[in-house]
């Protein structure tokens, strides 16, 4: 299940990539499962098949899926790779949140306090 927001200025392939990424790292799409075919997804979402192909290519480049010619795209069995991806993803999220805090004028000491609380430092 994917949801494309055409009002969002994020490109559609990016939206699709993020959702696939999320579903794989969250374990919704389990290792070894097949991604929907380009044709069916294109028809389901009413978007250009080339856009879907592009998102699938990005997934493969990120090491999250493997493409088997003639069979389709599958979620990778490589759990170490998945863990690495998860780490990258959460670090990015933490950075975004910290940036938001900084913009709100929260002092650095308070943010460091938060890290200490979490890590028990």
């Amino acid at each position: 299940m994917f949801y494309i927001n055409t009002r969002d200025k994020t490109p559609i392939y990016e939206q699709l990539f993020r959702q696939l990424h999320e579903q794989i790292t969250l374990g919704v799409l389990e290792p070894g499962t097949a991604l929907p075919s380009v044709r069916s997804l294109s028809s389901e979402l009413g978007i250009n098949p080339n856009t879907i192909q592009r998102a699938y290519r990005m997934m493969e480049e990120a090491g999250l899926t493997v493409s088997i010619p003639g069979k389709g795209n599958f979620v990778t069995d490589d759990t170490a790779g998945l863990q690495h991806e998860q780490r990258v993803r959460h670090l990015e999220a933490a950075r975004r949140e910290l940036t938001a805090l900084r913009k709100l004028g929260v002092p650095k000491s308070e943010a460091v306090q938060l890290v200490d609380d979490v890590y028990g430092g």
Binding site: T6, K9, T10, P11, I12, V38, R39, S42, S43, E44, G46, I47, N48, P49, N50, T51, K103
Partner: protein, 294 residues
Amino acid sequence: MLKADSITKCFGQKVALEKVSLTLGAGHIFGLVGTNGAGKSTLLRVLSGVLKPDRGHAMLDDTDVYENVQAKQQICYVSDEPTFITGATIKDMDRMQSAYYDKHDPDRLRKLCKSFSLPMHERISSFSKGTQKRVQIVLALARHPRVLLCDETFDGLDPVMRDAFKRVLGEVMVDEQITTILAGHSLQEMENICDSVGFLHEGTLLTSGDMDHILNRFCKMQIVTENGIPSEVLSGLSVVSLKEQGKLAVLTVKGDEKTVFDRLKAADPVYLEAIPLSLEEVFILDMEEQGYAK
């Protein structure tokens, strides 16, 4: 492969197209965007082999399409003004297309009529304008075209039908790798569906390229500085517009986001952020640059 090779077309004194060149591969959707009277329909008519260009060639796989029966079998032009044989029903059009087009597929037509909820035995002239557009689309797709040229087809459809059309288009693109040109004004729609776009203005193709490239021609930045942006930073950028409100400034700059972002960092900003531009905004900026309706 569909190719426009430096096409020039005049109607009397009026130059409708001037040296328009374009190459589109199979399975590609191209959005043709243009001001009113820019020559969109003329270009589509030339590419469909109906109009003879004064100079240049319209080619399908290296053969000229003008009055070329073989090429015209494979090209389908969906005009912005639906025209059908007087009093004809879809069934009549089905028979007509069977006689003229080798690849016409009555089964597919029947299926498409069903999914677009069109009655096959009623006079087409009794349908509303939007419904007639739907008839055009199903008749076009029933011919299994390799090239589909749509003139403002989206603009006349309601949201439900637009969605249905996009789904069908997605399917046939995967199955048959057709090349599609969508000409029109609904830029939001284009941005979402096209692989690449081109801006046509007074007969000249101003810019064309893939969507990312087009969207990256301009960028919009929001910047907060303590003492304003130093003039040497501004003069190093081709600024299209600048709006200042105290410490906050919003500027539109020609150039890609990354370069502009890095240059603006020199202004020692407290806060700097890129605001994404839509195809519509880029189109308007481009047209203003050309002196259209400023």
